[in-house]
Structure formats: structure tokens, C-alpha cells
Subunit: 409 residues, 4 copies
Amino acid sequence: MVVDISLGQAKLDWARNHMPIHKALARRFEGARPFAGLTVAVSSHLEAKTGVLIETLAKAGGQVVFTASVAATAQHDVAAALNTQPGIEGFIATEADAATQSSLRDKVIARQPNLVIDDGAEIALQLVRRPSEIPNGFIGVCEQTTSGVQRLRALDRLGQLKFPVLAVNDSYMKREFDNVHGTGESVLTNLLLVTNRLLAGRCLVVAGFGYCGEGIAQRAKAWGARVSVTEVDPRKAVRAHVQGFDVVPMREAVSDADFILTATGMPDVLRREHFLEMADGAVLGNVGHFSNEINLDDLRDLAIDQRDVRPGIREYKLHNGHCINVVADAELVNLASPVAMGHPIEIMDITMAMLFLSALYMVEHRQSIRAAVHAVPEEVDHQVAEIELSALGVVIDGLTAKQRGYSSS
Amino acid sequence: MVVDISLGQAKLDWARNHMPIHKALARRFEGARPFAGLTVAVSSHLEAKTGVLIETLAKAGGQVVFTASVAATAQHDVAAALNTQPGIEGFIATEADAATQSSLRDKVIARQPNLVIDDGAEIALQLVRRPSEIPNGFIGVCEQTTSGVQRLRALDRLGQLKFPVLAVNDSYMKREFDNVHGTGESVLTNLLLVTNRLLAGRCLVVAGFGYCGEGIAQRAKAWGARVSVTEVDPRKAVRAHVQGFDVVPMREAVSDADFILTATGMPDVLRREHFLEMADGAVLGNVGHFSNEINLDDLRDLAIDQRDVRPGIREYKLHNGHCINVVADAELVNLASPVAMGHPIEIMDITMAMLFLSALYMVEHRQSIRAAVHAVPEEVDHQVAEIELSALGVVIDGLTAKQRGYSSS
Amino acid sequence: MVVDISLGQAKLDWARNHMPIHKALARRFEGARPFAGLTVAVSSHLEAKTGVLIETLAKAGGQVVFTASVAATAQHDVAAALNTQPGIEGFIATEADAATQSSLRDKVIARQPNLVIDDGAEIALQLVRRPSEIPNGFIGVCEQTTSGVQRLRALDRLGQLKFPVLAVNDSYMKREFDNVHGTGESVLTNLLLVTNRLLAGRCLVVAGFGYCGEGIAQRAKAWGARVSVTEVDPRKAVRAHVQGFDVVPMREAVSDADFILTATGMPDVLRREHFLEMADGAVLGNVGHFSNEINLDDLRDLAIDQRDVRPGIREYKLHNGHCINVVADAELVNLASPVAMGHPIEIMDITMAMLFLSALYMVEHRQSIRAAVHAVPEEVDHQVAEIELSALGVVIDGLTAKQRGYSSS
Amino acid sequence: MVVDISLGQAKLDWARNHMPIHKALARRFEGARPFAGLTVAVSSHLEAKTGVLIETLAKAGGQVVFTASVAATAQHDVAAALNTQPGIEGFIATEADAATQSSLRDKVIARQPNLVIDDGAEIALQLVRRPSEIPNGFIGVCEQTTSGVQRLRALDRLGQLKFPVLAVNDSYMKREFDNVHGTGESVLTNLLLVTNRLLAGRCLVVAGFGYCGEGIAQRAKAWGARVSVTEVDPRKAVRAHVQGFDVVPMREAVSDADFILTATGMPDVLRREHFLEMADGAVLGNVGHFSNEINLDDLRDLAIDQRDVRPGIREYKLHNGHCINVVADAELVNLASPVAMGHPIEIMDITMAMLFLSALYMVEHRQSIRAAVHAVPEEVDHQVAEIELSALGVVIDGLTAKQRGYSSS
């Protein structure tokens, strides 16, 4: 594999130029170096925006050790460019197998990180399973995905969590921007370019009307798609209905769908019973952290034939003559498609800043924060929002003395 | 004043026909009569949809005593029609002065209600101020507005709350529908019909990007308005910005505004300094519970002339030659305009059902629920959502056994 | 009938204040008085905005004689206020019967107008039927509706048109604004306020995807309605489909419709076969010039009972137990509903200016313009657009010399 | 250059599967072979969808000779796959210089085509310049772009057109779908993926509010962009304004633009005076047929430095320190970006069908059609619309006898 470091560097340049919050964070903390003496592990989709977070942590004094949370989405040129920078060391693999991934996480853990910035709780889970490996001086984990937070909360309920976790995913500034706008835009642009299909007038099914699902559904509708939504929560089902979406059970939804996207955080959302009902030519994509939202085992089992029909699209032919097309082997559409560049840069500027300042919050409160999954304190949200407004040149009103009195009395 | 009871009855008929959740509640509880032996006070905007809630409480066994939370929006024909029904007694006034309103609330309290369904916490505050009047066997208050919940939470923080409150306003099924869709639609339809103005291409300023403000802003933009947003919370400011709204300080926003709507829950949002900067002909309307979001004292003080320029619109002429038009004396645009019929019926079906089932929850848990402001339990949300889906004929998926296992482990 | 002239005057004041193009026209032509010596007949929906056109014609020297094109929508206070002004004389009736309307048109024709500004070609048709009554010195007709232009084109094809007609309805500046935005906004605001119903999530059927129908459908969808479209033109059907609308035959569309609006320019769009399939409670409204888009004879024939269920809504009960509600007896929803104020003022400023300048064009070219239906010359469109931009304070680019050369060579 | 024919074949397979109109055309005409004995030249963006048109012409009996209208967008694998099919012969170059392109067109003309399906009037202009080369038995040209039709109309006005042209671009079924939806979707998806930038909240300038520009502007706004529009036609300026867009002169628009897209059909839309005012980091893309909408000579002249900053993006650094980024060297964003696949397949199915049936119309009417630019007859539009509806499974209403009578009398 030939890796072009200068291309990785150019990607980092471009990203950095569109991440004004990180520019401000670097300026603010390169003197004080609040992470000095600490090792910070970063496990995330390894591309340019993650790279800028890693750089900024290093500029703020941290010794950063990184790996890729998902092998398929890792960009080797970016990793190589990062590895040339002081205070940064990373390990990524060209092989996507679970054993390789796990061994890389072991290498990260072997560096005895004080903090983990995690994705899908991949490293955190390894530390839960093998508590003896929890580093000395371990401060905690900042987790950025719905799936990861769900896993860690479950462990917390079972009393198995031995370190604090900040649920960065659940914070206002993450989920209202990254999940709604970042996923919304990038999933649709990738889907359309990979397939060269039209959205206007087509039937799109969105499984799950959470932040990601709603962001996708609204954008698709705004461009003329006929969007159906599947849900298991009756409140969100009413929410989707009143926005004009057809809310239907999945078996009904798939029968005339051109596109089906899963965004639930649940396994098996598309499974044998659904594949059998799908329209010929249906295109399937996954938006959740784990590819098991689409049960590919079921699909392979049903298929009488399969082939790569186009870069990034595998076609499965069923015995009923229908072909089902899966984008990027059910890995995240916006990260794993052949044209993928992940979330838009400006969105990741916000998300990564939430991770940075959440990690900093943990450092500053390491004495008092107990082993549990915590919400990110509102003050972190406010800090990021204020830096962002300042970068955008947006000025807002303050409360008058009278209003402050009113709101507190 | 001549009141046409048959017209009130026709309004109730029409509302009832479009409130399927209440139809289902009536069917479900008219046998068991869970409110039997209890007096339920209802203080709310007194029009047909509130009437159907009152009827349904009576059918479920309650002795209902009602008054109008805001005199200006009370419909006397509906009140009269309600007063002919068994188990229902109500008091409303034709005079809008504070003393009259307060005396009517006294009459309601004199009926010794066990439960209060409140609006703006008007009755609850009276009970806080004069705790000796808290009825024997008092169970608690269900509050439906942002303003009311804010007031009661402040009292709770001060330790002055002597009875339990359910913050129905904050529940998912209230604020995501009533505030977003109900307010969103009805404020704009009323504003446009009262003024006969065009929305497309006009400048609309929305003060406050909470649920109500966002609902208005998005609908106005979707019809071609150029919408500016003012906020004091940096997170919501970023939220509005990323949706494409201009986020600006109010003094800047008003200078070319055709319409300015306040939806903040704060007093003095429009005040002297803003009136002086407003474009000639600006139309001002309030969406918050209290009319003091627009400081009419300041405006009257600045005016060199004023007149009713059109039903529902008062024009204030300033010394700079600019005229400022205020809709409905800064009472709620969608309730107090001359063509007003309040929120759409189907929305109030949801909101009123949340009040009904929250009240029922209080009855059922009266032994255990302590004096404080409480969130409405999610099970109440789920009940209303499920009845609504059933009424709409919408069927949704359930979790598979495997998924249930996944989500709990 | 008591008529409040001062209310009529206030309505004219309000309208005039929001019609900057007419303000500019009055300023431009009150000196030159290009209509001096000419009698101009105006037959239109008689309310404040029409009043401002009438005033402006009079200020530009014309002797104006007016009547109401539709009795149900005529505002007597506005008519009375107009009749106090010099150079203006008008006739409207309180009785809506055809004979009365026709006799009023006779009175208008008896004034020997040189120009007719027509609506639905009501006066023009009278002149076609009785050519002996065509006044001496007759210059021609400016027609503002789709229905009227269709009628006159049919007569033209049959060789029965004895005078020139400008099809103002078909001009860019009329149909892209009046039909799309004016009808779009006002039909929905009236429909929602008359019914107090919610739009979000409801099923709305729009018959006809012309300028009016598309304007309604897009706005309804933007507010969360589930919109179906019926069409007879396959090109417009594809157009609607690709925007995400369900395109279906009417019999299928009505079965679960909450609202059905006709905007086709055709009679009998809703008829016996459709009434029998309609969902219980369906609300029907007409947007076309003629009420016969909804065949009320069929509906009355089918009904076993009928009553006014609400101001502006008549309910017909069928033998299948379903009730069908008709708004404003199938007259235009946005003009005839009890809360109606017609199109938004700013839109009528454009439309009325097209009528004014089209009439002026006819005067200036009276020697050369032959008896036929003509498109409005583009220069008239451009004039109105330029005055409007100037009133809005919008500045646009011009072509460079190089670009001008390119576009002409 | 290594060309993978099997990849070209796979691209054709995928396209064919999503072009149901062409499937229907092939079925309908493979027996009758109406193009038998005729040579049809096709000059177009040479990728899979064009390939399916070429195939279908060949199946319908034509001898097809093709070339690429723009070298930069030509896909060599598709060309190679086409060249293996009977009745098809094509020439494309790897060099993009004008001389090479012209010589390929000469080769096409040397095949003595009877019909030309043209793009940007490239071949037609060659025939106008060198009329001696007009083949014997030449029937005419079908032109698919705004730019090409403009050029040919100018020649027609000058009396220099010696053969008939059908302005396919101007037909309803082309411009309402290809220009609005095809360009709208694909320009934005390409722009966003090439830059990895966010659209929500960003400033996008669209030059030209024609079909393409409006399609882009509406979609960008729907995803949260703040969109400004520049226009030279006052009517379209009002149209954009009333949809809520900021209409401004270009010099003003560029000063805070994140993205600037040109869609005017004019040269020099962005030129020296604009480059000097642009915000740092502005991204420029062209949507018109000719890259000269952005004057790259001016930009190169102003630049003190330039480099490829990212695949598909060239950065020009000005002496004021600002960097300006140009996508795809100002070639069409949606065709020339590194991830480009051109218009969505379903859209090109409609456009290509318009070209096919327009060509067929010319064959059938070759005796009567005179040398001039003609509109495509409505019957061709209707045919394509009907086949499309049938492919979509959409059924529409017909007129009743009564309605037919009404509309014709």
C-alpha cells in the first residue's frame, strides 16, 4: 500500500482552515497546555477532522495515541501525516478483521492513557472486560456515539462501570448538529453520488426517527423524496406523522422503497422477513455505528447470487428475481462509501470541540467525578456555542437586569 | 351582551368531532368514573377545545368548575353551552380587569377543588400566596404553559410550593406538538388574516428560538419569509443559525422588520429602545402567555397619537413619523385576534389529553407524590401517543426479542 | 343593511399603505392623466385592494365605473367609501342572484366604457353576446383570471371576438405571484381559520397542478400536510410526482382526504361519484373562479340532511352516514369565507398594477391592436417588476457591454 | 491510459436498469426500426446515461456515431463499452484541447450524419461555419442546452441557419426536470462532497435565477443555506425575492459568500471586480455549459500563487491574502468534479427520451420542417410524460365528456 503523506497533509490543511473553533482552542490552550503530562487516547473514524482534534490535543500539551474505530473508514494518508507530528503516535491497519482491530486497541491501551476519546465505546468496553488493564491515573472516557452511550449506560446499570464517562453524544451541541445536520447532509450526498440516482420523487424509508433519522428524513423530503418512517417509540411515531411522513411497519415500508436507511442503534432492523418483501433494485444503507442494523448474514443466506455491481455497491440476487443493493457493506454510508469524506468539516469542528472541552472538564474535575455515565455539563455546551458564534461573527442579545430578575424570581 | 348558546353548542360539536383522543378517553372512563367524588378546577383559554376537556372530565366522574385564564380570549357562547351540562359549572367575565379575573378565581377556589388544571399558574399562584385557602384533600396542579412552569419552578426553588405540580408543558407530547405545530400554524394564520399582508418575501423577526419560536420561524421561512431570530441562549442561537436564520440582536433586527413576534416567556422583549428603531409600519404580535413581552407602557409613552386602524390592530404613531401596529393589544395573537379560534383542534386534542391523563396520574398516585414540580411520567406520554396513533390508524413496529435483549443488556 | 363608510375608508387606507407600486403609479400619472376623457369599467372582487386600483385609475384621469364580479365577496363599506370619491361611480348589490348581477353589469355597460378591466370575462361575455351594446370608441378588455382567458380564447377561436383582449392572467408578473403566492397563502390561511383544523399531518387533495394548485400544494406540504394531487395533463402529473406529491385519480384521492381543494378552471371536478367515496368529515373548498368546480347539485341531491355547522361551512349528510363539509358554498375559499380578506395586499399591488399598465398599453396602442386575445407585452411585465424592485429597495446587476454583445450575437 | 471495458459495461447496466422510459422506447421501436438507413450523430457528455440513449438509437435502427461534447467529462470506459456494440462508433480524446475536440467533430461530420443530437450546439456551429460540409440528406439538429439554443437562435435571427433545429432544451419535459431537479441535486451533492463542507448555515450565491439557478437555490435553502441570488432580469429578481432569497448585485453578494455558483448562460459573470471583493476561502463553481461564466484569465492574472489544494479544487491566492477556490477549473461542477457522475439517471431518462423522440419527430416530418429553431411539439412532451407515468405506475384522471365540451367551447 502506497501512502501519500503530502495528500494527508493537504487534507489536514483544508480541514483546519474550516475548523475555526479548533483554531480558537489551539490559541487559547497552547500556552497553558492543560493536558501536559497526560496521555490521551483517541479512537475514532480516522480522517482529517479527527486529525485536527488530535493535533489540537497535542498543542494543548497532551501526548496523543490514536487508532481507527472502524478500519474501513480509516484514511492512511491522514494517519501518516499525523504520525510525523510531535506528541502524536497512531496505529491503524489495512486489514479490517476484528482481531487486528482489537490488537491495535491493545497497543493504545498499552500506552497507559489517562483519558479516552472513544467511538462506539470500543476502547471503554475493552477496559470493562479486562479491568486489570485500566491504566493507573485513569481519568475517564468521552463517548461520542448513540450506540456507545447505550452500551455504557447498560454497563452502568449493571454496576460494571469502573470509571467515569461523559456522554458527549447526548449533549445539545453534539446531537443537534452532528446527528441532525452532519449525518443528514452527508448520508444523502454520499448515497446519491454512489448510486447516481435521483432523490426527487423516489421512495426513501428511514428506520428510526431519532436525531439522525429525522435529519435525513427532513432533508430528503425537502428535495422531493416520498419518505416513510419506521419507529418503535409511539411518541416519535406521532412526531414523524405530524411532519407529514408516512409512518408504517417495516414490512410494509420496504415493498416499494427505492432506498432504505437504518438509523436506530439496534441490530437486525432489516432482516430476512424484510429482504423477502423488498422491491427489486432497492438500495440499502446503514447510518448507525454498527453495520449489524442490516443483517447481512440473513441476506447472504437468501442470495442465490451476488456481485459488486458498482464501486461501493454489492448486489444480492434473491430467488424471487429481485436484486437488493447494499452500500458499503452496511458500514456507515457517509464514511465508507467510495466517495466518502465523512461528516462536513464545520460540523465536526463543533463535535470535536465538545470532545476536547469534555476531556478538559474531566481533567479539571478528576477528583470529584465518580464512576458512572454523566451528562456533559451545560457549561461545556455554552463554551462551544459561544466560540462558534464568535467564529461566525454572530452577536446575540443578553438579558436585561429586569429580565434576569424575572427569570430567577 | 347576547350569548348564543346554540352557537356555543355547535362549536363544541365541531371540536368534539375532531378530537378522537378525547372520544377514546370518554369511552374508556365513563364506566369507571375515576374522578368521581373529586372537584377539578380548570383555568384555561375558554373556548371549544377546552370545553371538550371539561366535558370529558365530567364524563369521567369529575365535578368540574372552570374559569377563563385570559378574559380577552374567553368565548361566552361556549361557556354558556358548557354550563347547561351536568357536573359542570363555570364563571367568566366580560370585563378584562385584573380584579374581576382574580375574584373569579376566588370563586373557583371556593368550590374546594381537589385538582387544578392551570394555565399560566394563575390559580396555583393564588394558592401559593394564600396557603390557608388550599382546599382540604388537595391533590395538585397540572400546568400547561412555559410561563406557568417557570413561575412554579422558581417558587419550588424558594421552598414555597406546598403541593405537587406536574409540568405538563414540558412533556414531550405537549411541547413537540402544541408549541411547535399548534402555535406555529395558528400564530401565522391569524397574523396573516388580521393584517391581510403577504408573508412571502417579507421580513419576520421571531424573538426566542424555543419550541414556539422555532415552530413559527420554520413555517414562515417555508412560505418565503426572510426570518431573523433573536436569542439570549448561545446554543439556540447556533441552532437557528445552522437552519439558515439570521441571528441578530433585537435592535438590529427591528430596523427592517415587517412583522415582529415575541415568544420568549420574558417581559420587556420589545421596549423603548427597540420601538425607536423600528421600520415604519411594523406589525407587532405576542405569542407568549403574558402580554408584557411587548412593553406597551413604553410604547404608549412614546406615541404622539394612537388609533384602532383595523379590527384587532392598534396603531401607535411616534414622533419620528413611524407608525407601529400592535395586534390584539399584545395578547396572544392566535387567541385574541378578531378572527382567532386558538390552536388547531387536533393539537389541543393531544394537549388536553396530556392534562386529563396527568390529572388522572395525580389521582392514582396522590399518596406518594410530594410537593414539588415534577416531570410528567413517560408512561403518560406513551399512553397519549398510543391512543393518537390508534385514532390515526397508524401501526408501528415493535422490538423483536433479540432487540429487546440488546437494548437492555 | 347598515354600511360603515369610515370602516371602508380605513380598509382603503391600510391597503394603500401596503401598495407601493400603486403609490408610484399615482405619482407618475396624476400629472399626465393618460386616461383623461376615457371611461374605465372595473368588474372585480370588490374589496380594498380593488378599491386602490380604482382610485389610481381615477387619479390618472379615468372616469371609473365599477361593479362586483361576485356578489358574495363584495364589501359594501369599501364600495361606499369609493363612491364618495370624485370620478368614481359603482354599483353593487346585496342580492347574489344572477339576474341582479347581470343588471348591474348592464348599468356599467350603459356608462359606455372605453376600457373594461374584467374578472371571469363577465362583462366581456355580455358584450360578445350583445355586440350592438359595444360602446363607441371601445378600446378593449384586460382579463385577470384563468377562467376568463379560457372563455375568451374559445370565443376567439370561434371568430366571435369583436374587440381586443389582453390576457393579463397569463403574464409572468400576474400568474407567478398572484396565482402562486397570493392564492397559495390566502387559501390555506382562510381554510385553516374557518375550520380551526390542523394542517400538519392531515391529508389534503389539490385538484389541478397549475400555478394556483402548485402554490397551494407546496405550502401545505411545507407545513407538514400529506398532499395528493389530481391532474389530467401528464406533464404536470410528472411535475407533481417529482416534487414528492402523490398523484392519483380523484376517486382514489378522496377516500382518506381531510381537505379537498379544486383549482382547475373546469366544472364538475368533484361530482356524485366522488362524494360517494369521500371520507367522513371531508372539508371541500373551491379555488377556481367558478363555484361549479364542485357540483353542489349532485351533493344536494345525495344529501339526506344538511345544515350550517359553523360560520362559512355547510354540512351535507349522505345516506352512508358520512358528512361532507363545503366551505363558502364553493365560492372562492379565500374571498368568501367568513374571515376572508382576499389575496394579500402586496400581491394585489402587483396584479392590479399589471391591469393598470395593461389598460394604459391598450390606450397607447389603440390604433394598432386588433380584435383577438393577446399576450401582455413583456415591456409591461418589466415595468411592473422594476417599480416593485425599486419599492422593495432591491438593486440588481445589469449586463456588461461584453455580455450584451454575447447575448445578441 | 488503461480503460476497463467491463467497468464501462457495468455502468451501462446500472444506468439501463434505472431508465424505464428507454426500456419502453427500445421495446416499442426495435421492431419498426424507424431510424433504419439513417446516421445519427450524438455529441454530449459521454457517460453511461448518454450511452443508453446511443444504444437505444441503435436498437431503433440508427447507425450512431458519437463524440464527447466536453473532453473533461468523458468516460473512456463507457465509450469503449459502447464501441463494442453493433451500429455504434465513437471518437473521444484524452486531450482536452480545442483543436483535438474540433478534429473529432470533423470525424463525426465525415460520417455524413442525417441527424445531430447536440450539446452546446458544438456540431451545429461547425456546420453553420462550413455549410459546404452539411451532409446530403441532412434532416436537422436536436439541441439540449440553454447555451446551445441561445447560440442557434442568434444565428437564426441573423438568417444563417440552413437546417432545422428543435430546441429540446426549452421543452417542458426537459427544462422542468433536467434543469430544475437534475442540476439542482447533482450540483449540490458534488459541491458538498468535493469540498467536504457543510451547507447548513453557509452563504451560497447563485448567479442566475433561471430553471437551473432556481433549482439549486431552493434545494440549498431547504438544507439551511443562506442563499443570495443575482439576476439581470427584473421579473426573475422579484420572483427570487418573494421566495425569500436575498437579491443583490454580485459585487455585494461575494463579500461574505462561502460558495458561488454561476448558472446564467453568460460569460464573465465572475470577473476581476468580483474576485477582488470575495471573502477568503470562497469556493467557486460553474453550472453553465461554458466554463467562461467564471473568467479564469482574470483570476490567474490577479493570483500571486496557485496550487491544487485538493482533488478537483484549485486555489488562487490574491495579493490581499485571500484565497479563492475553483472547482473543476470552472467546468460543470456536476460533471467534472472528481466524484462526478453527472445528472441523476432517472432525470436523464426523461431528457434523453425527449432527444430520442424529438429526433424521431424530425425524421417523420422531414419534408415539412423548415430551416429555423423550432419549439418541440407538445405531442412529444406528452408522449414522454405518458411513458414516464406508466413506468412509475401513476394513473391520472381524464376529462369527462362534459369537461371536454367545456374546455373546447
